[in-house]
Amino acid sequence: MSEKIVYLDNNATTKTCQEAIDNMIPFFAEQYGNPSSMHDFGGEVAQYLKKARKQVAELIGAADPNEVIFTSCGTESSNMAIRGLTDPHKKHIITTKVEHPCVLNVTKHLEKNHGYEVTYLGVNAEGELDLEEFKDSIRDDTALIAIMWANNETGVIFPVEKMAEIAKEKNPKVLFFVDAVQAAGKIPVDVKNTKIDMLGISGHKIHAPKGVGAIYIRKGTLITPFMLGGHQERGKRGGTENVSGIVALGEAAEQALNYLDDEATRVKAMRDKLEKGILSKLFNARVNGSRLHRVPNTTNISFEYIEGELILLHLSDLGICASSGSACTSGNLEPSHVLRAMGVPFTAVHGSIRFSLSRYTSNEEIDYVLKQLPDVIHKLNAISPFQKELKELKEIKESAKALKCALGDKRCCEQ
């Protein structure tokens, strides 16, 4: 492994921010009391939980901090929202084909073992939903709608605020859950001004440590607790609070809110620079997913006719961390369900690479990637058995460029 690490895999996990670390440390060996204890030593810890709850509430725009319940991770938040359904007569759920497994595997479980019917909405080539189709899928017996705010693989944003409006208009009793794990801290989230009932976030995606998450549950929303135990989190989530993790999450949430503008400007500019650079340097690169509706830190690029794991291994040797939707990188043998749902052809789906930036990414790092990546891709293109196809693709791309140039689009001549 190279000594220099260029970490462009922030949708997988992030570096814990120093503010979060500094704030969590005292709760291991100094203020280690149980916030539920009667003595002051433990009881005083409760105020730090209260502070963290407020910090998280501010990040997601919850009207009341008590609407924030701390969990162990994003997956638990999703499980809690979906498995907490209470009405035995409503057995229909709507979700999408491109959700994270922490939603898809739960709905599949309810379908298989608990008699639920699930509608999986498809997406177009850009990874976007059809709102008419969504509206039509809402029924009287629809118990829950579970839609992600931003896709973890492509970064594509779903209009969840608008969808919640549509849903409540058609069926006021339906519950609307949003998996906001990839949206929180990247784009503004303001639940109080939406019709969203529940919303899950994960700590380690916003520079808090792993092992802590949260779910927003709007006041008056009825769901059965998923983790049964003591009275913690007002009976909604049993188990002694992960105090240090929660304090860190609170601090990370506050920082994330402060850095939202930075994310929308500087981080976005670096992402765009990386994306444009790759597209101009490599003829077999193509972007997956809508470039219009996307979180600012993510780009998903396919390198046609070469395989993703191989690209990652070579990048890793250069200290560059990214991830891939290739079949080979997952435990199973199927490539990304997200890219397949978008109809990305097999020639591209196995060679898809996701670069996800953060506020810790620097311009120099982007330059380094743009300098190193072309050599890797050229080397791997040469190994591919699809030489004829690669040659044809190159010719097509070059003539398209020449045409643009002839039509007076200056941008293409600059390269």
Binding site: Y305, I306, E307, G308, E309, L310, L313, H314, D317, S326, A327, C328, T329, G331, N332, L333, E334, P335, F346, T347, H350, A382, I383, S384, P385, F386, Q387
Partner: protein, 274 residues
């Protein structure tokens, strides 16, 4: 992250023999874009049947590249006959092992070699689909599954998926895979039993079964049993002691003694009172 050996890393970082051969004597191509890996190998074979050069191109992960690179290294200088005897396990061994889930990469190498060698021998080069397709997701045939199970002594459906990818998609064929696996495992254990026992070995075996599983039970009721003779699947015994005059002695013989012997020897054993 996969645990690749240093040798695997060496071969995917700097693969040997990448490319094509002009006017090759044999070409083998397996896999497809849809399945996520494809391999094409080119061979140069001299008039003495020695592989003088081998090149490859592949679309696949690190272990696919390493397997193909290893394969070419292993066969250059070998005769066609020697190359034919190469197994996927040989490729994996050459690389110091592959992660279980990546064993299919070594199988792909072996298949590409097979395809190339059959093209060299003038056998039809178009892809032959032998047997019905069991796994629709990855287009894996029953014949291929049986062959891989047999050659690699596989014991679980998960291993079949690791070696052939079958069952790694929608998973609908897992029932079929289990059935094929059970059949192959049964064949394997039958194979072991095939060595015929000598008459003396037969007597010793039956006697020990009677002593260990039957006599002790009969003795509790004051009876006993004695082996008289064995003739093919017929075992002649004498019931003794209280069993001798017991009105239900025939039931004891058929329901108890015969069942025990069938369980330990074979279903077609017949127990007869001498």
């Amino acid at each position: 992250m996969w645990e690749y050996t240093e040798k695997v890393k060496e071969h995917y970082k700097n693969p040997k023999n990448v490319g094509t051969i002009e006017n090759p004597d044999a070409v083998g191509e397996v896999g497809s874009m849809a399945c996520g890996d494809a391999l094409k190998i080119y061979l140069k074979i001299d008039k003495n049947g020695i592989i003088t050069d081998a090149k490859f191109q592949t679309f696949g992960c690190g272990s696919a590249v390493a397997s193909a690179s290893a394969l070419t290294e292993m066969i250059i200088g070998k005769s066609v006959k020697e190359a034919e005897n190469l197994t996927n396990q040989d490729i994996a061994d050459f690389l110091g092992g592959l992660p279980e889930q990546k064993m299919h990469c070594s199988v792909m190498g072996k298949e590409a070699l097979e395809a190339a060698l059959s093209s060299f021998k003038g056998e039809p080069t178009e892809k032959k689909i032998k047997g019905r397709i069991v796994c629709g997701c990855f287009g894996v045939t029953e014949d291929k599954i049986r062959e891989v199970v047999k050659h690699n002594t596989l014991n679980t459906v998960e291993e079949i998926t690791n070696y052939t990818k079958a069952g790694g998609g929608c998973g609908k064929c897992k029932g079929d895979l289990q059935k094929i696996l059970s059949e192959e495992v049964a064949k394997r254990s039958n194979g072991k039993k095939e060595k015929p026992l000598t008459k003396t070995q037969q007597i010793l075996k039956v006697n020990s079964i009677l002593e260990n599983y039957v006599a002790a039970e009969l003795r509790k009721d004051g009876g006993d049993i004695e082996l008289v003779d064995i003739e093919d699947n017929k075992i002649y015994v004498n019931l003794q002691g209280s069993c001798k005059n017991c009105p239900s002695s025939n039931l004891t013989l058929k329901n108890f003694v015969e069942n025990v012997l069938r369980e330990h020897i074979s279903e077609d054993v017949e127990v007869i009172e001498a």
